[in-house]
Symmetry: D4
Subunit: 219 residues, 8 copies
């Protein structure tokens, strides 16, 4: 490892999770090289925010990487063994446009050995669609709710169920919802007590937060 | 009337509504003088955003004014005759803190001769409280929904009923909800189609918009 | 319909309007698939914010779609029957640059069976152009006013006529008007009482709001 | 004059105008001392943004100062001789709440020897009030238009007359118009060509800009 | 209970927590009346953001209320029984100015029967003070980290320990840190994976989030 | 002229200036068509913000148009006759990056028959370059100062000379100066009295403002 | 020292400077108690942002404190011995309103044993006042330039002299300069290379930065 | 040199540093021409923010330019002779994404004859990586710390070492960290005393500030 690169290869042992390789501002060469270092050190190796073109060119450098198109992620090596006994994290979205971020959260959890499921199109403009799923909501240990626009879904959820709810604001939308600030501030300002929030589009971060919660306390 | 003051005394004839006298940046003397001019010209005379102390000192100048404490408004003269046949405007609030603005809307409608009712504490953190009132919602011609914090109430309403829904963002709250911008942008970004919005705390404006809607179309 | 997709196919029966398919963040395949589901369920099927290239590739998948270039919209199937007796919604714009949003509103109304007309280039920098049209303004049941830059057109209209006026801020412009925030806030801050506002560029939402208003109250 | 104070006592000779003494963040003692220095040096001495209480306590220190209550200004000494031949600057306001800033502009011009008049309550919500004054508008050399809320007045003026129009945004209002940013940006974004703008509430600055314009070019 | 007030008196049964009574925008009479309703219904009764003067006047109306000066909270009735087996929530602060918010979180947890401790003055400008406390950090089930200014404390914590960390931005500071936006955004943008955030100054919300986490999973 | 287009063809007679055709959001066909209408009506025909590719395709439609590459403008027909007796407007810039906007102002003035000159690279980081030009500054009737970054040039000018100074903020820069807001607010907040400001990058608007000033008052 | 208070009493030994006690959000009791702890530990004890009333009540608790009214600071004990050989830090201000912050910087330096001088009223609207002081500028080791409004003074300085220049934005002003954001961003966006900036009104921080610079390198 | 171009060719003699040629908004021709003028005048010639494509096309015009790919810079001619005795400036980064800005600072220093080194991947999420480098930190005369996201690195550094620390906020990130504002404000709001800040991504400016500091004071 050269002088320019002091990757934290024992983070998973220390914190139980790996830092994702943020693919957006890195070249294919940089991504391939860091994935390999993580993998050789026996760590999970996950790169997020990789578009199909960059994924292809990483694959040319590193034949064994797997591209998860829905989530925009690359992985190298096998996921951790499933810890069924920890219970399930449920990832909810309000619309098709929230899928990439929700899928990133879903993949990150699965790769860390957490049971997880994706529940889509349960937006607040048609609450009956959400109420049809109450049993699934009640069975989850942690809920991750992705929502753009006004971002009201996590507020509604935190008023319905007693579990931890993590809101992920999504940057889709136009006008005042462009960039996700409105969804973010709507979640922070929520009148439902105990709602937790992460950065806009931060599916990976929401997954790691759910992991912190679920790992401490086997059910 | 002197050179400095060209009040629009035939607005009610032209538009069917009067401009409110915005009391916040005016002295007691200015408020009393404009109320009297409106009243003498046969117009409705309403001043908004008047605190109790200023109200008292206007009353000292102009004995006949009536102070509506909940709404922070002063009126001079009688309200317009009730036009029962136009139907009802329902004013909803999410919490006690939204009452002053909701009351301003309620008073403004009543003073223009519109039937109106106030429904409080129907916030989105406890949706069952809202669902208990579905029949009242369905019977209104127009709904005015006042909400601070994340401002999700109008979004939920516009997903439930087909009537016009006017969202009024409220400036209560702290942190990101301070000043009402989050509630405002949450309403504008709403995923419920056809939601209409007015300025933060603008109860009077919401009432005048409801009046425009309901006056054109007797039921 | 798979697990990932619970489209709200009875919304039109419940609310009298359909949710538009927001085309901007969807692939051609996603748009084609949702349009078809709506259409097969007997609903209006409208996708907004589709550029010509994406429209062409949807057409390749779904031969019967119709592309409305001015409005950037795709439709599948026939519009609803015209309900002439409800009266007309007039859509006004201040300049050529506002046409796409105005056309989206116009198309959405027509497709829901509402009589509507488009009146362009009536900006506030030359008020005589607007005053020439006073009779048309007076004959409309609802006015939708699209304006970018300082967004003063809806303010002027709401001072001239007693009907409901819906302001649609447009994101054209540069410097402080870039993105439409200035037009939006100008409309919200308007000194004309009872002006109603929707999100920046939200032509479809303005149309649905006009629909809520006009549908309740046949003239 | 001590080491801490190098007031620019020949600015009027150099630029034809004095810098106002901004009273808001100064003590009565500081204001009195600077007014006197200016006056002794043969300059115009004007302090802006002085409230009645501070004015009174300056008067206790410096008996000859004159307090202009409407404008919130203190002056010491006589105004400059009127230069009638330069023509008139017209100061317009949309409402009573804009009067303090309009009066500051009016006083500053008068004190520099410029003929000026104040025209109030010509807001855009009732354009007929403005159109009644077209002759006065046409006779002015420069127009200063003060407006809060959406700030549309200068836009309308610059579309009506060919003279220089200076917009002064006013900080009155609530919600999105709180602090005057909306009025400021509305003026900057104006679709009327050649509209000029100064800082929010900067009546003195608008007056000095008008002075620069009118002084160069005797009519 | 009159028509204006539909308090949610079974929330604790449903969600395991009560909604705090937000005291800032309520009168003493409103606070006293709601506290009593909650208490009579057998619920925890807690009002936050009450200053000493208002607290005193509530006490005049309702003799049994207890004022917690550090936390700015009023309670009526006994706290819930301590559930020692759930483990401890540690509340950390960077400085004396963060104490009111940290104390609000601490009180809310204690009142819901959760074991909790307060650790102050462990700011990031002197990391050795934090490192001295590593054992206490490791023994907590959940960490709540209050920080104003640049808000880096939660980031440092989430890099040190594997438990859930909840950041509470504090509104102390001046210039760019005024109002707490910088601390909030610093926490959301954190490079430590899995950090969770609540609204600025929302000590009560952080406590309820910790409660959701700790209650589901007895150790 | 069809129903969609009511161009204001007598504006030049009424206001002495034409509205520019804002080319950025228009197609080549729209630009060509409006240029021709203006030209046929005997008006100046100027389109701003046209990039070389669009200019070329307009030229294909309308052979006689002239492309001014530095200014990004298209003109059709001859400029107005030079009115030498009105005096000169001097356009100053702080750097090469400000040239397109400065050139737009320069062209617009020349096309309206005003004598004008361009003075570049007189930024405030090297004041001696500005002071070398004092005589030219003193000879101009109006000064237009274009500046990006911190935008201090107009402030310095307005402290040096007594003529009208119009600041044009430029959107070049990165970080906090990205988009020109910092330059704009720096000019509005200027401590030099009587500085006038237009929208970011609005070279045409500054020219029209200078025209309003210089036309009224032949020297 | 109790559990709630782990003041960093060896910071001066480690970093050569003490952390100021930020007085704004602390009670008189808290300030007095921390000043005393610092003093007893042999440290410099300085509290900033103390208004006269609070200063008086601290003095009642702790007789030996010294109140520096211009700077709004309290000190306990003697300043450090003057290190003349390190050279001088010059603190400049654009106007009387910047004096409190400039005085805070001046006091903090003096108290740490640094030679320092204050140069006031050298704003950019009258550059000749600044140019008269070139020799003093050239003799200083570090320059601290305090400026509100458009904040151009540090930019001008950094273009004139080769020494380190630290800009301190000041929160005085109104409209766009309210709160100091415009001055801050103007300094950050400066076209003069190598200008350094601290938080708005952070006189103490600028002094500590100058101390870091000057201490390392005796002249 | 023509009339449009008054480059400041003696700046290095006057200030000891050259102004960088900001390449982002300039054409290849403009960059080549200015580089050559600087070089012919015997100055350092450095252009920043040049992408590989533009670099190639400048090289076609000016064969001797050298492209520094990591830093995105072009240079013409030799760097200044190394002044070893001035000591070293250490440039630190939190991640691979900060490398371009860090490299720009590094190159600018080297080109001005300053000894400098780059230390990467020392982010705050893994403090042990930073603490391993304490000796190198202590040996540097000035530290430049580049950080995006929450930007906490300079805060941690300024709490560890007594030297001048210059924070450079980086525009990498997404959601609230998009554009670098969060990192910038986090550095300005830092609780570590004496931290200095430059504009977002301004590696060159940080280098020139370090140069001002280190040049004055040979060790």
């Amino acid at each position: 490892m050269n002088d320019h690169s002091r990757l934290d290869l024992n983070r998973r042992r220390r914190l139980g999770m790996v830092e994702a390789i943020w693919g957006e501002n890195k070249t294919s060469e940089q991504i391939a090289s860091i994935l390999q270092k993580f993998h050789l050190a026996g760590e999970l190796a996950i790169a997020t925010r990789v578009d199909p073109a960059k994924a292809k060119s990483v694959k040319n450098l590193l034949n064994d990487v797997l591209f998860h198109k829905d989530a925009g992620c690359l992985t190298l090596g096998e996921p951790a063994a499933l810890q069924q006994e920890l219970g399930e994290v449920l990832v909810l979205t309000g619309g098709t446009s929230d899928l990439p971020v929700a899928s990133e959260a879903h993949l990150a959890l699965r790769w860390h050995g957490i049971k997880t499921a994706l529940l889509t199109d349960v937006g607040v403009a048609g609450l009956h669609r959400l109420f049809d799923q109450l049993e699934r909501l009640n069975n989850a240990k942690v809920l991750i709710a992705c929502a753009g626009m006004e971002g009201a879904l996590p507020t509604i959820l935190a008023g319905l169920v007693p579990q931890p709810v993590i809101g992920v604001p999504i940057s889709v939308g136009y006008g005042v919802s462009l960039g996700g600030k409105t969804a973010l501030e709507g979640m922070l300002a929520s009148c439902s007590p105990g709602l937790l929030v992460v950065n806009i589009d931060n599916g990976y971060g929401a997954a790691m937060a759910a992991l912190r919660i679920i790992k401490q306390h086997p059910s």
